[in-house]
């Protein structure tokens, strides 16, 4: 059972958030502020009030001499009126004790956020069975646990970019590519026992027993390689490189491990398996008009995103927490990086996205809604999967959330944009419906009802695009037409109506996750993804997304792909 909703979780965050403002106001002789007051003093202190903005300005001053031209200068803003006319307040990462400045949550300033995306796009899953069949049936080679261990030892030498078979090769510095690794996982416990522990993702140890059994049953006796190529490779190239890089090293390793001829046609079978027949990309290739290869964020389905996040195995009893870590991961990747940078190049996307994973607001609304559903229907995923239940749960959750914004002016101010409020209210409604019923489509129905009720109550919603996406959205919830009728888990960032607006895709991923978290499922969409991202050797901690973002913001996170080893010291 989730934490019972006994108090408003965002109050502590708001008190932390506005503590400095309250001190400032008091020092100016203005009555001590209260988070429920509708009026306040605006001190217009400019950027100097923020430690981070001061750091930026000081650094920019140093750079100016070095660069010989101007750069960062907030005083060019609005004819000399810099930002900071209102108090600049920090953000608490939801569910953690991290409090960071807003700037620290821009992905450029946050190495953990970058690493999350790097860890996804540098990952590829390749089946071993097809290659083993080629070796055994076509080449007459013996494949045993011993040969597999030998192969994996060679592969963990080769995959980072080192030579096998060939002479006089240029290799990568191990210190630059130390995040690269390959482990295997299988539903066959007997085989897993025979593989050297260092090369195995041990499903039995990493997952709760019931989840491990479910994943093993789904995988069966097949064996898969969870491959993570070096971060520095995908940062220099892109996600489309991952399958090429890995396939090359896989083939070279097979040649070495099984004493093959380097030029024989059988190698083509191994390459075909590694690049196409036995491969699972993290995301689909996009249509030509979006011009991105596979393993780029635009093709990443919500179901895969839900399975990459691992909170479902570390905190299975708290489906809200599971869903909200998915929301955080999705908001950061889809909003800040995909729509905000790949597709748009804007600065404002960080503000949009952070509303969903800071200051315990979405947490509070979700716990309220889920507790309401649990009280009424007797547990997670116990409510009937009907449109009437979506209507009831979404209306109640949305109403509660709107009332909090109305009752706490600092909360409204925290989510100062309508898109932020719309996303948070609809996500809470959708997650409540999904956890309550265990059905993602009912969750989606709740999302859209929240949008309509929100607009009706306040006479405003989000940015222009919300008009289309959310007001006509109910028609695609239960549609089975080919261009719009997928289950939510199989929809993704490039689904027709979803490709335009921030504040949606991460939340849709959260709703996908919520349905399965409510049902206590081991995975939402694909067991291979869930198993692969359980790899403890990943740099980003996919079980604690928000905590990792906080570490990144607090400058406590070490990302991979550092080039300091081969550059002069600063």
């Amino acid at each position: 059972m989730a934490v019972k909703h006994t108090k408003k979780l965002f109050i502590k965050a708001l008190n932390k958030k506005f503590a400095t403002e309250q001190k400032l106001l008091a020092s100016k002789g203005i009555k001590e502020d209260n988070i429920q007051d509708t009026k306040t003093g605006y001190l217009r202190l400019g950027p100097d009030q923020s430690a981070r903005k001061r750091e930026f300005m000081e650094y920019a001053k140093k750079l100016e001499g070095k660069r010989g031209m101007t750069g960062y200068n907030p005083y060019v803003h609005c004819g000399g009126i810099p930002l900071g006319q209102r108090q600049l307040v920090p953000y608490k990462l939801s569910g953690t004790e991290y409090v960071v400045e807003g700037d620290d949550l821009h992905f450029v300033n946050n190495p953990a956020m970058q690493q999350m995306w790097d860890d996804i796009r540098r990952t590829i899953i390749v089946g071993l069975d097809m290659s083993h069949e080629v070796l055994q049936k076509r080449l007459g080679k013996e494949v045993t646990p011993e040969t597999i261990n030998n192969y994996l030892e060679i592969l963990n030498h080769a995959m980072p970019g080192a030579a096998v078979v060939q002479e006089h090769m240029c290799e990568t510095h191990p210190g630059l590519v130390d995040d690269c690794n390959v482990r295997v996982f299988t539903g066959d416990d007997a085989l897993a026992d025979e593989i050297d522990d260092q090369y195995v993702i041990d499903l039995n140890k990493l997952f709760p027993a019931e989840q491990a059994e479910a994943i093993k049953a789904a995988i069966g006796k097949t064996t898969w390689q969870a491959i993570h190529v070096p971060t520095i490779v995908v940062r220099s190239c892109d996600g489309g490189t991952t399958s090429r890089w890995s396939a090359m090293q896989l083939c070279m390793t097979f040649i070495d491990a099984y004493n093959m001829c380097a030029g024989e046609a059988a190698v083509a079978d191994l390459a075909y398996a590694a690049k196409h027949a036995a491969v699972l990309q993290m995301s689909e290739m996009l249509p030509a008009r979006r011009a991105r290869g596979p393993n780029n964020p635009g093709g990443l389905s919500f179901g895969f995103m839900a399975d990459m996040v691992q909170t479902s195995r570390t905190n299975p009893a708290d489906p809200v927490k599971v869903s909200l870590n998915v929301v955080a991961a999705g908001s950061m990747l889809y909003d800040q990086i995909w729509l905000g940078s790949y597709m748009s190049g804007g600065v404002g996307f960080t503000q949009y996205a952070t509303a969903a994973y800071t200051n315990d607001v979405l947490d509070d609304f979700c716990y309220y809604g889920v507790d309401y559903a649990v009280d009424k229907y007797g547990g997670f995923a116990k409510a009937p999967k009907t449109i009437d239940v979506a209507k009831e749960l979404a209306t109640e959750t949305n109403a509660y959330g709107m009332e909090q914004y109305e009752s706490f002016p600092t909360l409204l101010e925290d989510h100062f944009g309508g898109s932020q409020r719309a996303s948070v209210l609809a996500a809470a409604s959708g997650i409540t419906c999904a956890i309550g019923t265990g059905h993602s489509q009912i969750g989606l129905a709740g999302w859209y009802l929240s949008m309509l009720l929100h607009k009706e109550g306040w006479g405003r919603l989000g940015f222009f695009g919300y008009d289309l996406q959310d007001q006509c959205g109910p028609t695609n919830v239960f549609s089975y037409q080919s261009d719009e009728g997928n289950p939510l888990e199989l929809r993704g960032a490039n689904y027709p109506n979803y490709a335009m607006n921030v504040g949606h895709q991460g939340e849709y991923a959260g709703i996908s996750s919520a349905a399965h978290a409510g049902r206590m499922d081991a995975f939402a969409c694909n067991p291979l993804i869930k198993a692969t991202f359980a790899n403890p050797a990943l740099v980003f901690d996919f079980a604690d997304v928000r905590g990792c973002f906080g570490k990144g913001g607090a400058r406590e996170f070490r990302a991979a792909g550092d080039r300091a080893l081969v550059m002069p010291a600063v």
């Binding site: 306040t40 898109s419 919603l461 919830v477």
Partner: protein, 255 residues
């Protein structure tokens, strides 16, 4: 029997006010001189000629067609005016109008306009002399309170922020200010360029007056949902449930 538009459901003051905005049957509260409205809009100097993007329609030799016979051009279109805008920001704290209702008002009552609706701002674009007339109507009517609403072409931040201690909506660019005489003055145009002379916009509404005229449902005013544990849905919610239900089912089975 002639059709009488119903516009909006509900018997609360919010429902009634929403119907008033949509019908255009609005009370006039003040009379801001045209020249002052033009200077706050900032597109042309008061008294200056209108810039045009094409000759007057009468000189264009347009082809005859049934649509041209049915639809008379607006004065701005007839003269060939360029298209300009006015954009409003309305506070959450009981501003009389809200973005969708400004848009509905424009779409229903203002010929030849293009409303755009966001959360923190609402824009209407139209031919220049037309938008000037539409803007004056908004300024003068009960749609607008001079402390809780302001024209902001850019840097609109403020609709959801706490009010200043004097009851004004926060504005980063401080385009309006509260005078010692209790009147609100516009000191900058829509995009924050200082005006040659301050424009007296008059006194703001009292909180009670704003609550009476608002089109916002709020738990501390007219609630749309009743309260936690004692839900009582406004007719607006029931209407929206009905529409959502039909839209969802139609998507499953379009017929």
């Amino acid at each position: 029997m002639a059709y009488t538009p119903q516009y909006y459901p509900g018997s609360t003051s919010v429902g009634i006010n929403r119907r008033k905005h949509m019908s255009g049957n609005l009370e006039k509260l003040r009379d801001i001189p045209e020249a002052d409205v033009v200077s706050i809009m900032g597109h042309r100097a008061p008294g200056a000629d209108y810039a045009s993007t094409h000759p007057p329609l009468k000189e264009m030799g347009e082809p005859d067609c049934p649509i041209r016979q049915i639809v008379a051009p607006t004065p701005g279109a007839a003269a060939g005016d360029r298209v300009r805008y006015s954009q409003w920001t309305d506070s959450y704290y009981f501003a009389p109008s809200v973005p969708y209702w400004r848009s509905y008002w424009g779409a229903i009552n203002c010929k030849g306009c293009d409303p755009g609706t966001l959360s923190g701002r609402q824009i209407i674009e139209a031919r220049e002399r037309d938008i000037e007339a539409y803007t004056k109507k908004q300024y003068d009517s009960e749609m607008t309170d001079v402390a809780l609403c302001s024209m902001r072409g850019c840097t609109v931040h403020g609709h959801s922020l706490r009010l200043e201690e004097n009851g004004m909506m926060f504005d980063m660019l401080a385009r309006t200010e509260m005078g010692k005489d209790g009147n609100v003055y516009a000191v900058k145009d829509q995009v924050g360029i200082p005006l040659d002379k301050k424009v007296n916009l008059g006194k703001p509404m009292s909180e009670a007056e704003a609550k009476k005229r608002t089109t916002i449902f709020r738990v501390d005013g007219v609630s749309m949902h009743g309260k936690v544990g004692a839900r009582k849905y406004d007719e607006a919610v029931e209407a929206m449930h009905h529409m959502w239900d039909l839209r969802s089912k139609w998507g499953y089975r379009p017929e």
